[in-house]
Amino acid sequence: MNVRWRAALERGLGDRKTRMLGLLLIGLGALGTIVMRSDANFETVFVASLVAGSVLGRWWTVIVPMAILAIVEPVLWGGPYAIYSSHVILGLTFFIVTGFLFVGIVGRRLKPRVVFRVKSIALLTTVSIPMTIAYDLWTDVGEYAFIARPMGLTFWNVLEAQVPFTLYHLLSSLIFVPLFGSGILMLHALGWPHAEEATVPAEPADEP
């Protein structure tokens, strides 16, 4: 591989620990959302995007939400979204993708203040509340444009119908942001237990 490309990749993806955490977030984000797909607005893409931006930063701010959505969206297209035509699905997907990108970018702005401390978990959890509402409002615009307006409904109708779903989404964020946040921050600060053990020799080496 070209040296410059390799250097850019190293800078963008970070060290081995950061890459492992990025992949872990993608796995947890995709798995959680697929497992909970019958519970409306209970998902783990939001938390994975927020934590990716605020803890890992770099390219992971974009890679994590995009990779999770690349895995999850086709599964949802065949399930709950199967009732919609392809142009409706594409329209909704645009709002979902840009919404989660926004969450990741806001998380990235928090990164300097996020360390392995209770205050940081509290900060992430607190920020997740207005972010969840903002994300839902943004995707409501998509639902209005592609579903409600063709049915003769107003944007206000969409907002009214959204209220219980936003409550479910807030509950999801309040549960998963502290869980994911504390777990990933701990791994980020302390490293992987097995990796640490593997790098420490059992006995001092006799030879250099």
Partner: protein
């Protein structure tokens, strides 16, 4: 001067506040879920399905399928037409996506239902039928109008 809380105390306070917030929100969500319908016998209930290009009539019948959804399934079994639906646990309810091969989204139309002309605000499996009710399913573009 206010003493700084130790990290451990901060964690305890955070967990308590978070637990209370989650418990309160969860309790509200559970309370706001539509109650399940208890099975009971109903008489003279009818079903009319208007698929825009076709119609299906069923009943009046006497049955223990006393929800708008279970009556639809009964008609589906008796008359031999397919019904597809998505089941949600939160919010609890069923969302009918296709009846007799006519699927939501075609020409911007969606399946909606009325019970004796009233447009319910809960899933079809949470609407209890009374004696003499007529359930109407229509494949239409606008919402909430008269059946």
């Amino acid at each position: 001067m206010v003493a700084r809380m130790s990290e451990r105390l901060q964690a305890v306070v955070f967990v308590v506040v978070l637990g209370l917030a989650i418990a309160g929100l969860y309790a509200y969500i559970q309370v706001s879920q539509p109650p399940p319908v208890t099975a009971s016998g109903v008489v003279r209930v009818s079903l009319l399905i208007d698929g825009a290009a076709w119609t299906i009539s069923y009943g009046p019948v006497e049955t223990w399928n006393n929800t708008a959804y279970s009556l639809l399934l009964e008609a589906s079994t008796t008359l031999g037409f397919p019904v597809q639906a998505v089941h949600y646990s939160i919010p609890n309810g069923v969302f009918v996506t296709s009846i007799n091969g006519t699927t939501n989204g075609q020409d911007g139309r969606y399946w909606q239902f009325w019970v004796d002309g009233a447009y319910p605000q809960v899933g079809a499996d949470h609407v209890a039928l009374a004696d003499g009710d007529t359930v109407t399913w229509r494949f239409i573009t606008n919402q909430g109008g008269n059946a």
